[in-house]
Amino acid sequence: MKTNTLNLWFTRFLALAAVCTLVGCSLFNKVVESISAIEKAQLVDKYEPSEQYYLGRGVSAVILDRYPPIEIKNAQTERQVAYLNDMAGYIERASQSVTRSALRLGDHTERDHDQQQQVYDLALYKGVQVGILDTEDVAAHGTPGGFLWLSYGAIKMCESEDELAAVVAHEMSHIILDHGMANYRIAYKSEVRNSTLSDTWFSGSGAVSNFGRLCVTYAEDAFNGYNPEQEFESDNWGTRALTASGYDPNAMVAVLKRVEAYEKAHDVDPKDYLAHHPPITERIKTVQELIKSEGFKVNPASQKPEAVKARNDRFTAAFK
C-alpha cells in the first residue's frame, strides 16, 4: 500500500515535471524568438497603437533633426498649430466610415486578410498630431502612431482651406492605411539598414542601438516618399475623406495641379521627396475619374458663399 502511494506520487511528480518542461521550453523559445526579433530590429507583424506611437516618436525625432519644427511659443504659432490639429482631428473623425479596403480604394495595393484586418483595427494612440516644419521646401511626412509633419512650403502652396484639407487628408491616409509599415517591410525585408546617419547616431549592436537605427531607417524611407501604388491609394482615400468631411473633393485635383506647377517651376532634386511620387498628370487624371465614377457630390451647404468665406478667412488668418 505504502509502495503504491509512493509510486503514485512519484508518477505525479514526473508527469508534472514533464509538463513543466514542455511549457517552460515553449515559454523560453517564444521569449528568445522575441528578443531575437528586436535584436535584428524587425517590426512585429501585428503591433499595438502604443508601439506605433513610440516608433513614431523616434521617426519624428529623425525628421526634426533634418527639418527643425516651428516653436510653439507665441499666439500666432499656437493659432497655426491649433488650426491644423482641429482640421486633422475633424477630418479623422468625419471619415471614420470611409472604406479602408484596398480593393475599394482602387486595387492599387495588395493586402492579405490579416493586413487588411490590421488596417481596419488601426487606432492612433494619441490621435493625429500635426506639426509644422520650418522650411520653404514642399514636404509632408506621416509617421506611425499619428505624427504628421507639414512644411511651411507645403502649407503656403495651398490657396484655400479645402486645398490644405486635401493635403492633410492625403498624408493622414498614409498613416491610417499603414503605408509606412508596409513600405518598410517590402523595401527592407523588415530589417534595419546601415546608413551614414545611423552609423553616426548609433554605434555598436544589440537591441538598444537597433531601435534607434530602426527609427533612422524608417525616417530615411519616409524622406524618399511612399511607393507609387500607395500614393494612388492615398489620393483615393483622401478624396473620399474630403467628401465625407464636407469639403470639395475637387480640392484634391486642385492641390495636385499646384504640385504639378511647383515641379515645373523648380528643378526637383532626384533625392527630393516629390521625385519619388508617380507622374502627377496620371494622379490628377485618376482622381478626376474617381470623382466622376463614384459620383462624389459637393456638399451644397459647405459651398455657400458665407461658408467658403468662413473657411478661407480662418485659413488666411492662420497662414497668409
Binding site: T11, L14, A15, A18, V19, L22, L27, K30, V31, E33, S34, A37, Q42, L43, V44, D45, K46, Y47, E48, P49, S50, E51, Y53, Y54, R57, G58, A61, L64, D65, P68, I72, E78, V81, D86, M87, E92, A94, Q96, S101, H113, Q117, V119, Y120, D121, L122, A123, K126, G127, Q129, W201, F202, V208, F211, G246, A301, E306, A307, V308, A310, R314
Partner: protein, 207 residues
C-alpha cells in the same frame, strides 16, 4: 514505467490539444462578420470584457452619448481601462459600460479603441505565453489574464535606451517640446467638441 509513459503522453496530448483549443477559441472570439468591409472588423460579444488600447490623451478616448463621430461626450477613458460590452450591433461604435472602482457609466466608444487584452508596461508575474500575430510578436498573459508584449516598443524604456545617443536625445527633445506646445495650444476642452465646432464654423457640418 508503462503508466508513467502513458501519463506523460496523455499530458503532452492534453497540452497540445489545450493549446489548439485555446487558439481555436481565440479565433472564434475574434469572429468577423462575413459581409463587405465588416469582414475585416473585430467584433465583440455582449457581456464580454474589453480594454482600452489608446492613451487617455487620445481624442477617441471618450464615451459618447450616441454612436456618431460628433456626439456629446459623457465620460473619459484611459489606457488599459476595463469595460464591458453592452451592444455591438453598429458598424463603428460599441456600447460599453465602465466597471471597477469608478462610478459606473455607459456610452459609445469607437470600435478600434478596444481590444480583448489589457496591455501592461511591465511583466509582473507570468504564467502563460501565446503567440499574438506573427512569429516575431508574443503576448504574455499573467495570472489576471492581463497581457503585454514580451519584447517590443510598448515599453518607453526602449526609447530611453535610444536616448543614449546624444543626437537622438536632442532630437527627441524637440518631439517633447512639440507635444507640450501642442497640448497647451489645444487646451483642456473635449477634443470632440472642438472638432465639431470647427466643422460647424466652416459650414462643413450641419447644425
Amino acid at each position: 514505467m508503462y503508466r508513467l509513459l502513458l501519463l506523460t503522453a496523455a499530458s503532452a496530448v492534453c497540452l497540445l490539444t489545450g493549446c489548439a483549443g485555446s487558439r481555436g477559441a481565440y479565433e472564434c472570439e475574434h469572429r468577423v462578420k462575413q459581409s463587405g468591409s465588416a469582414h475585416y472588423r473585430t467584433y465583440w460579444e455582449d457581456g464580454e470584457t474589453v480594454y482600452v488600447r489608446i492613451s487617455g490623451e487620445a481624442p477617441a478616448a471618450v464615451l459618447l452619448d450616441e454612436p456618431a463621430p460628433f456626439a456629446d461626450p459623457v465620460g473619459a477613458l484611459y489606457f488599459g481601462q476595463r469595460l464591458e460590452v453592452l451592444d455591438d450591433s453598429t458598424t463603428n461604435y460599441v456600447l460599453v459600460s465602465t466597471t471597477g472602482i469608478d462610478e459606473p457609466a455607459s456610452g459609445w466608444v469607437w470600435r478600434p479603441a478596444l481590444q480583448r487584452f489589457r496591455l501592461m508596461a511591465s511583466a509582473g508575474q507570468t504564467d502563460r505565453l501565446e503567440t499574438h500575430g506573427g512569429e516575431h510578436a508574443a503576448t504574455i498573459l499573467n495570472e489576471d489574464g492581463a497581457t503585454f508584449r514580451a519584447v517590443s516598443f510598448t515599453n518607453p524604456e526602449r526609447e530611453a535606451y535610444a536616448e543614449r545617443s546624444e543626437n537622438m536625445r536632442s532630437a527627441l527633445k524637440r518631439v517633447d517640446e512639440f507635444e507640450t506646445g501642442l497640448a497647451h495650444a489645444m487646451g483642456t476642452r473635449w477634443r470632440v467638441e472642438r472638432y465639431r465646432e470647427f466643422g460647424k464654423a466652416g459650414g462643413l457640418l450641419d447644425e
